[in-house]
Symmetry: C2
Subunit: 209 residues, 2 copies
């Protein structure tokens, strides 16, 4: 970013940035409305009004309300997959990879809490193809996590009885944070580090003190 600031952004680049910003703002407002009133009760008019824009403006980014819901529901799992990719691409040993994954994904869940809650609530309103796609991504996440657990067990780092059940349990433990985390009552860094230690205990040969 610092290097970029030395010269003004090229018009094409700036345009892309602005488009991404506008797209994100649409998703943020739609998320607030879906969270407060539900997907079915929220109209495109209401989203346009909240942003103080016209409906055609929305149509230049999303074909319909259904596409907005898709984009909202994809955020949590897409970011989690990126974090998983990045952690697995490191040269770290399995326990450190796992800690990095739990750290990143719990942080993603907390900072994207409302997106996750809307996904959980509105999954039934997704088109069948989109719902399947997201379930596939989540299954893929769990399978790759299970593979890491197996690798760690083979390397003698983990003590894991059933890698598939343990992986889906870890995913559940982390995802559920979106359900109970309250910004005023809980401290993000405490919850993240506590979750890392709980997951560590679930798979490690000896509990860490």
């Amino acid at each position: 970013m610092a290097a970029r600031k030395e010269k003004p952004a090229a018009p094409a680049e700036l345009r892309t940035e602005v488009q991404e910003f506008k797209r994100r703002r649409i998703l943020e407002e739609a998320r607030e409305l879906f969270f407060a009133h539900g997907y079915e009760a929220t109209t495109l008019d209401a989203i346009a009004e909240a942003l103080n824009v016209t409906k055609p403006f929305l149509y230049s980014y999303f074909r319909n309300k259904s596409e907005i819901l898709n984009a909202i529901c994809e955020i949590g799992i897409t970011k989690s997959m990126q974090a998983l990719d990045e952690a697995l691409a490191t040269k770290l040993a399995p326990p450190e990879k796992l800690r990095l994954i739990v750290d990143s994904v719990t942080t993603i869940i907390i900072t994207n809490q409302k997106y996750i809650v809307v996904y959980t609530r509105e999954e039934k309103n997704l088109e069948h193809k989109e719902a399947k796609y997201l379930i596939g991504l989540r299954r893929d996440f769990d399978q790759r996590l299970a593979k890491l657990l197996e690798e760690g067990a083979e390397a003698g780092d983990f003590d894991v009885e059933d890698s598939a059940l343990t992986a889906v349990s870890i995913s559940g433990l982390i995802t559920w944070v979106a359900n109970w985390f309250r910004p005023g009552r809980h401290v993000q860094t405490d919850v993240v580090s506590h979750t890392i230690r709980l997951v560590d205990r679930m798979v490690s040969k000896r509990p860490r003190r």
Copy 2:
């Protein structure tokens, strides 16, 4: 039950049983319809039709659709609280109490899976008072579980860093089972015993082999 069968049930008793049975059947059909089409899209007429009864029949059990949703959403947490009460009332040591709780509640989550999923999805459609009531029950469950963890830690049975965060994490791990359990693909008893062992690891001084 065996003792009861020796003589015919008294009319008053039988009437209560039949009423409970009818009430449960209404909830089962409503749950199927809410699960498949969502609460908002499901009418009382559709519920009556699925049961092949009249709408006045439904009104003799529930004042409106909202009361049916309340009853559906209460099932999981009410049963879980009963299981918690029963386990805490035993003379068992904290680790055995905890295992009993995880065993019972995971079983409740699996056998009442669709009720839990409907609650998660439709929480926003609950009246404010009812939603608050259920959140209060869940918080109460977590607090009593946290207290058991503290008792076990004091007795030297558990190694728990933050009893409140650990309790809510255990609840999440168990509740999330409703989200991924698939009857054909997973075996209930395997999932229950695996969950017991994972929770055991989360709190025990030494992992059990």
